[in-house]
C-alpha cells in the first residue's frame, strides 16, 4: 500500500501496463524527455526508450490517426493529448475511424487504443485549457469514455482502458492531479468499464456525479448529514459510456430524489442522459423532479472568474435542499 496522488497513480498504471505487455506504447507531445507537461509520463522514457515512449510532431489529428494505425497493426497505443481542449483536431479521426472500424469490418479490424487528456477547469489556465467536453465523446457511437475521481480508481480505470479491446477516451480531471492522496494497493487493480460505484450509502436523496465534482458532492453529503440530518447516497459514475444505469436507477428508486452534478455544459450533457434514464426507468418512484447542477452553456470564463462557473459544494447543497423541499 502506498499513499499517492492521481498524477502518480496514472503514471504508475502506465508503468505497470508497459511492463506487463510489450505492445503498450505511449506517444504524444512532450511525453518523452520532458515527461509530459503535467509529468504524467515521468520515468517512462528513461525506462522503456524511444521505441515505446515517443514524442510526436505537434499534430493531434496525426497523433490519433497514427495511433489508430498502430492499434490496427497489433500495438496498444496510449496517446496523450496535451489538453482536452485540443483534441477536437483529432475528433475527425475518432469519429470517422477509431469508433467505426470494428463495426465497419464486422469485427475484423479493431482499434484497441486509449486517448488520454487532462480535462476540466480549476487550475487557473488559459482559454481552451479548461473545458469539460466528455459529452461529445459519449455521443459518438463506438467510443468508451471514462473519468476517474481519485488516485485509486484512476489507476484501476487506466488498466481497464488499456486492456479494453475498443477505443477508450480517458479524461483526467487535472484539478485533481495533485489535490489529494489516497492509498493504492500493491497489486494491480482493474476496474470494469461500465460500472458505477456507490461511494457513500444513504436513503434520502441520490447525488450522482463523476470526475472533479465528486469532491464537492461528497462534501455536500457530509454537510447535509450534519446540518439537516439528511442521508445522501453518492454515486460516482466513473464510466460515462457505457453508463451504468442500474446502479443509479436502483438508488433513485430507493431515495426518490436525485441531483446530477458535472462540470461540463448542461445542454445535451451527461446529466441529461442520466435524467432521461431515471425518467424511463423509475419515474413513478420520484418524489421531486431531478435537478441538473452543471457548468453553464457558455465557455469556461477566463480564470479570474472560472470559480463562478464550476459547481461547488454550496451549489450542490442548495440543489439538494431544493429537491428535498419540493
Amino acid at each position: 500500500m502506498a499513499e499517492i496522488n492521481m498524477a502518480k497513480s496514472i503514471n504508475m498504471a502506465l508503468f505497470e501496463a508497459m511492463e506487463k505487455d510489450s505492445r503498450v506504447v505511449v506517444l504524444g507531445q512532450d511525453v518523452g524527455i520532458d515527461e509530459g507537461v503535467f509529468r504524467i509520463t515521468e520515468g517512462l522514457h528513461a525506462k522503456f526508450g524511444d521505441k515505446r515512449v515517443f514524442d510526436t510532431p505537434l499534430a493531434e489529428s496525426g497523433i490519433i490517426g497514427t495511433s489508430i494505425g498502430m492499434a490496427i497493426n497489433g500495438l496498444l497505443p496510449v496517446a496523450e493529448i496535451q489538453f482536452a481542449g485540443f483534441d477536437y483536431y483529432a475528433y475527425q479521426q475518432l469519429e470517422s475511424h477509431a469508433a467505426r472500424f470494428r463495426n465497419r469490418t464486422r469485427g475484423r479490424v479493431t482499434v484497441p487504443m486509449v486517448m488520454r487528456a487532462p480535462s476540466g477547469a480549476g487550475i487557473r489556465a488559459l482559454e481552451h485549457h479548461s473545458e469539460s467536453r466528455e459529452a461529445i465523446y459519449c455521443h459518438t457511437p463506438g467510443l468508451k469514455v471514462v473519468m476517474p475521481s481519485g488516485p485509486r480508481n484512476a489507476r484501476a480505470l487506466m488498466h481497464a482502458a488499456i486492456n479494453d479491446p475498443d477505443p477508450v477516451i480517458y479524461y483526467e480531471p487535472k484539478a485533481l492531479y495533485r489535490l489529494f492522496k489516497e492509498e493504492v494497493p500493491d497489486e494491480i487493480e482493474v476496474m470494469p468499464i461500465g460500472k458505477a460505484q456507490v461511494v457513500r450509502p444513504g436513503s434520502d436523496i441520490t447525488i450522482i456525479s463523476y470526475g472533479a465534482t465528486m469532491r464537492p458532492c461528497l462534501e455536500a453529503a457530509e454537510l447535509l448529514m450534519e446540518e439537516d440530518g439528511v442521508k445522501a447516497e453518492v454515486i460516482d459514475l466513473l464510466s460515462l459510456m457505457p453508463l451504468d444505469t442500474e446502479t443509479f436507477v436502483n438508488s433513485v428508486a430507493k431515495t426518490g430524489r436525485a441531483v446530477v452534478v458535472h462540470e461540463g455544459p448542461r445542454a445535451c450533457g451527461v446529466a441529461a442522459e442520466v435524467v432521461s434514464r431515471i425518467n424511463e426507468n423509475v419515474f413513478l418512484y420520484l418524489e421531486a423532479p431531478v435537478i441538473r447542477l452543471t457548468g453553464y452553456d457558455v465557455p469556461v470564463p477566463y480564470f479570474s472568474k472560472e470559480k463562478f462557473y464550476i459547481p461547488d459544494t454550496d451549489k450542490v447543497v442548495e440543489a439538494c435542499r431544493k429537491t428535498l423541499r419540493f
Binding site: 507531445q29 512532450d30 518523452g32 524527455i33 520532458d34 515527461e35 507537461v37 514524442d55 510526436t56 510532431p57 505537434l58 499534430a59 493531434e60 489529428s61 496525426g62 481542449g85 485540443f86 483536431y89 487557473r124 489556465a125 488559459l126 482559454e127 481552451h128 485549457h129 448542461r266 445542454a267 421531486a288 423532479p289 435537478i291 453553464y296 452553456d297 457558455v298 465557455p299 470564463p301 477566463y302 480564470f303 479570474s304 472568474k305 472560472e306 463562478f308 462557473y309 454550496d314 451549489k315 442548495e318 431544493k322 429537491t323 419540493f326
Partner: protein
C-alpha cells in the same frame, strides 16, 4: 518511359542584413529614417521590458501563466512595422511587440494574462484579431481574411504568425494551401525559435528549413535571420509588395531561438543545454540592433537609459491601471459570462444567468421573464 528529372524554378532565399557586430550590408539596408530606426528600437525595448515585468508579476501571482517573448522582438516588430494600420494582424500568442505596436493598450494585454476576456478585445481602428491559443488554427482565418479581401476588391494584406511546432498541424498546411490556391495576400510569418515546448525542430520536421515547405504549395519561401529586425522588415516589405500586386502569399521562416522557457509553467532544464542557450544569447536581437544604431551614431548608453526610464514609467502606470480595472465591479462581474455568447441572449442562458445570480444572492438583479423552465423544482405543482 525513361526516368527523367522534372525541373522547378524554386529556391529558398536567405536574408540577413545586420551581422552580430552591428555591421550592415549596405546594398540591402532599407531606407528608413533615423527617427524610424530609433522608433523600431524603442518598440523592441518596450516589449522586452514588458516581458520582464510580466514575469515579475507572474511570479508574484498578479497575473497567470504566459508565454515570454524575449528574443522574438525582431520578428514581431520587423514584420508589423512593414504593414499599414488598415492591414490585418492575425496573431498566435508570442507576438507581444506586435500588439503594442498596433496600439493595444498595455493594461488590456495585462488583463488578458490576468484572466479577463476584456483583454482580448481589439482596440478600435485596427484590423486585429486577439491571441489564438490552439496552434496553427489562426492561419486559416488569415487565409479567409485574405480571400475576402480579394472578393471585396480591397488591397489589404494579412500578416499572420505561428511557431515552428505549429507547422506540423494540418491547419498550417491547409492555411497556406488555401491562400496559395486563392492567391490570397497573406504573409505567413514563422517564428522559428526551434522549440515546441520540449521538442526540438527535428522532432517536427525532417526538412532543414520551414521556408522550403513553401515549394510544396507553389509560393515563395524565404529563410530570414529572425534576430535581425532589418532583415525581417525587408523580407516582409517584399512579400507585401508581391501581395499588393496580386501575386499571393509568402512564407517567411524567421530563425531565432527561444531564450526563455516556453511559458512560466515550463522548465527547459530538462530538455536543453546551457551551452546552446549561451551561444544564442550573443545573437540576441536587441543587442545586435543596438550595435548597428550605435555605429550609425543614433544610440548611446545615455539615450538608451533615458528610453528605459520612460518606458518603465509607462509600464508602471499600465500595471496600476490593470489592477484597478481588475478589481472594478464591471470587470469582476461574473454574470457577464452569459451576455456575449450570442447576439441576443437565448432563454436557456437567461435562465442560467438567473440561476447563478441566485446562488450569489443577487437573484433579484436579473430579470425573470416568464419562463416555464426557470426553476421547475421551485414552481411546478407536485403530482401534475
Amino acid at each position: 518511359m525513361p526516368r527523367k528529372e522534372l525541373e522547378f524554378d524554386y529556391t529558398v532565399e536567405t536574408l540577413s542584413i545586420v551581422d552580430e557586430e552591428g555591421n550592415v550590408d549596405k546594398a540591402l539596408e532599407p531606407k528608413l529614417s533615423d527617427k524610424e530606426l530609433l522608433d523600431m528600437f524603442r518598440w523592441m525595448l518596450y516589449s522586452r521590458r514588458v516581458d520582464e515585468r510580466q514575469l515579475n508579476l507572474q511570479r508574484q501571482g498578479r497575473i497567470g501563466t504566459f508565454p515570454q517573448s524575449t528574443g522574438h522582438e525582431a520578428i514581431g516588430l520587423g514584420s508589423v512595422f512593414a504593414i499599414e494600420k488598415s492591414d490585418w494582424f492575425v496573431p498566435a500568442y508570442r507576438e507581444l511587440v506586435c500588439f503594442l505596436y498596433r496600439g493595444w493598450p498595455l493594461e488590456r494585454l495585462l488583463l488578458y494574462w490576468a484572466g479577463f476576456e476584456e483583454g482580448a478585445v481589439p482596440p478600435e481602428g485596427v484590423n486585429d484579431l486577439p491571441i489564438c491559443v490552439p496552434v496553427a488554427s489562426q492561419l486559416l482565418h488569415a487565409s479567409g481574411i485574405g480571400m475576402a479581401n480579394n472578393i471585396k476588391g480591397e488591397n489589404k494584406v494579412v500578416l499572420t504568425y505561428f511557431g515552428d511546432g505549429s507547422s506540423s498541424e494540418g491547419d498550417f498546411h491547409e492555411g497556406i494551401n488555401f491562400a496559395a490556391v486563392f492567391n490570397a495576400p497573406v504573409i505567413f510569418v514563422c517564428e522559428n525559435n526551434q522549440f515546441a515546448i520540449s521538442e526540438p525542430l527535428h522532432k517536427q520536421t525532417r526538412t532543414k528549413t520551414i521556408a522550403q515547405k513553401a515549394v510544396g504549395y507553389g509560393v515563395p519561401g524565404v529563410r530570414v535571420d529572425g534576430n535581425d529586425v532589418l532583415a525581417v522588415y525587408v523580407a516582409t516589405k517584399e512579400a507585401i509588395e508581391r501581395a499588393r500586386k496580386g501575386e499571393g502569399p509568402t512564407l517567411l521562416d524567421c530563425l531565432t531561438y527561444r531564450y526563455t522557457p516556453h511559458t512560466t509553467a515550463d522548465d527547459p532544464k530538462k530538455y536543453r543545454s546551457d551551452e546552446e542557450a549561451q551561444k544564442w544569447a550573443k545573437r540576441e536581437p536587441l543587442i545586435r540592433f543596438a550595435k548597428y544604431l550605435e555605429k550609425k551614431g543614433l544610440l548611446n548608453d545615455e539615450k538608451r537609459q533615458k528610453m528605459e526610464t520612460e518606458i518603465d514609467e509607462e509600464i508602471k502606470e499600465a500595471v496600476k491601471k490593470m489592477e484597478t480595472l481588475a478589481k472594478s465591479k464591471e470587470l469582476m462581474e461574473p454574470l457577464a459570462m452569459f451576455d456575449f455568447l450570442y447576439a441576443d441572449v437565448p432563454v436557456h442562458l437567461e435562465v442560467q444567468k438567473h440561476e447563478l445570480a441566485e446562488s450569489l444572492g443577487r437573484g433579484d438583479e436579473v430579470s425573470t421573464k416568464s419562463n416555464p423552465q426557470r426553476s421547475i423544482a421551485g414552481t411546478a405543482k407536485r403530482g401534475g
